[in-house]
Point group: C2
DNA sequence: AGTCATTTCGCAAACGTTTGAAATAGTATC
DNA sequence: GATACTATTTCAAACGTTTGCGAAATGACT
């Protein structure tokens, strides 16, 4: 069925010379007779010769491929991270091979092993939420394949990391709500066993504290999904009618809250101002458009790729580097009040 | 820096036997002494031996990798397609390598060439909008690498295709609006040089025709972006106050229209019912949630992968197959009126 | 003891490419 | 006409694995 790409051997046979001569001619080696060189190069172009990457890979132990493992590419954040990675990788002649863990530890282990045997030059990984055992990462480490963690940190393995300053982001979002006149702000918080859940909550509390805004017993609600917010907020708002600000741990939850607030005939932002976190595409779709914290997925991806490629190309074994990117407050209508 | 994965040669050296014996022992070849077999297998397990895919690839001319080229993975539709592909591919022991064209012809050509020299076993491609020359695809064809087109068809190349019935989808959406009492429906149409733009418009017109709903001079508006809809609709609605239904060529445009309608203090769906097309994630985010046509990205991906793998594994050279998937009407609040 | 079969293993080639070293041919020098 | 040098080309090994074929060793049977 499958034909075959033109090889150096084919060219050699046609021109009645040896493969090594062809190889050298193609890369302008000074030892080769200019006439031979021209013959070879012309024929190569004519036959559309392209070097077989697999053979080069086997020989040189580098595949020019980096493996990317993320939970799910359908999430806007991860697809922006991937785009950032691909951009930098392509610029430096690398390709990426993508595998999804679907937040499953087992799928993650499978993916790591499969990619390891494909002579991947390096890994960029966002761990699955369910990953508690890190042997598969340690295996990567011992074999000596470079690896960068993105967004979710794994302290048990020495590797480069690209994180985002969740605390500061939450702080900025909360301060922004306060600055817009919110007196009673609720934080819809993520699970408190995850670092991002904790950091964003702490940033929220710190901002309240610095502005001398009192914290109530209902200030923090564990609620991190669209539907949960849709259920929770009517109840919460009817009990606490003075709530005038909501900072949600992610955009989707913020939008759920927004819908609930509107359904109770309260105005966003005038009655209740709302901020999300991530700056995913949907924050632009919401009505009113959602104020949020840009988590810089594209930049994270770019940084991760640069760090990885630097390590791939480096000979010395410098210690692990952690980059923490700054978030950015994106002010849109859901929080902007005329003062 | 980089250590190295354990190879067959390593095992052979340790056990003072030849690589060929190790190879055979590992795959339970009957020629091998059970005792040797056990030694080899035990040591392999202990050293965590994993066969080097690259070497196998070079030898057997198959990489177990399929190349996927799409315009942009950040688009919900494409990421669902990819998820569908990955699922089927993984089930059959394949991995996918993803490249984005960013709707650029040149990037697409580059990607094709780069993946070709990586001994990809097959391609799944959604062409860039700007692609008008098909030599790079013809090259794939002549080399004999199987290829499946998804969503956007390319008639100049013989290859399998997975498409969706745009005409029928548009027909169903329009009929649904009519069934919900809409008398004056506007279609926000895509560019009429693209097949999907044409098909969706034709489906719209056919539905109107079958229901004896008259077509006005303003029934079709070329408008296929969120912002364009935001600008266009206030103008349109003030001129034509009787418009009571909108069928947009995609969800994003539909949501832009929805925002504009709401801003004019008209109610969705009671004053104006709206339907989009694609069923992307944002249709669930819109307020009210958007009725739309499910374009079945995940299923398209799965189909494409199955078709490709079938061809990869097949010896006979059967003719190209085109699969046209049915869309599905997803009814949500933006179009549902109490009759 | 010679023949034959059986069991177990190693050799060598192959996949496509690169590269140090060796070989060949040609030219110049003495 | 021998030596040395240069220019150009080829050889062979290597990357890790598979596999047809042959080799060696063992045992059984005549």
């Amino acid at each position: 069925m499958k034909g075959h790409q033109v090889t150096i051997k084919d060219i050699a046979k046609i021109l009645h010379i040896s493969p090594s001569t062809v190889s050298r001619a193609l890369k302008d080696h000074p030892d080769i007779n200019p006439k031979t060189k021209k013959n070879v190069q012309d024929l190569a172009k004519k036959l559309n010769y392209k070097p077989n990457q697999v053979a080069l890979n086997l020989l040189q132990k580098e595949s020019k491929i980096i493996g990317v493992i993320v939970p799910e590419i359908i999430h806007y954040f991860f697809s922006t991270v991937i785009s950032g990675i691909e951009k930098i990788a392509n610029e430096q002649g690398y390709h990426i091979i993508i595998a999804q863990s679907n937040e499953s530890y087992h799928k993650e282990v499978e993916n790591v092993q499969a990619l390891m045997s494909s002579n991947i030059d390096g890994f960029i990984i966002t761990m699955a939420k369910t990953t508690m055992n890190f042997d598969h990462f340690k295996n990567i480490e011992t074999v000596g394949v470079p690896m960068v963690f993105v967004d979710r940190s794994c302290d048990e393995v020495t590797a480069d990391k690209v994180l985002v300053d969740d605390f500061d982001g939450a702080y900025k979002a909360t301060k922004h709500l306060i600055d817009n006149g919110c007196k009673t702000i609720v934080h819809l918080a993520g699970p408190q066993n995850l670092e991002i859940g904790i950091q964003r909550k702490e940033g929220f509390l710190a901002a309240l504290n610095d502005a001398n805004v009192p914290v109530s017993d209902f200030s923090i609600q564990i609620c991190d999904s669209h539907d949960h917010a849709l259920r929770l907020l009517p109840e919460l708002l009817s009990k606490r009618n003075n709530i005038d600000g909501i900072f949600a741990v992610n955009d989707l939850t913020a939008i759920g809250a927004m819908k609930a607030v509107k359904a109770m005939n309260k105005k966003v932002p005038d009655d209740v101002a709302i901020s999300g976190f991530t700056n995913s595409f949907i924050s632009y779709i919401a009505d009113p458009e959602l104020t949020t914290i840009d988590q810089k997925g594209f930049e994270m991806g770019q940084h991760a790729a640069r760090m990885l490629l630097k390590r791939i190309k480096s000979d010395e074994n410098y210690g692990p580097v952690t980059t923490i990117l700054n978030t950015e407050l994106v002010v849109r209508k859901s929080s902007l009040r005329k003062k």
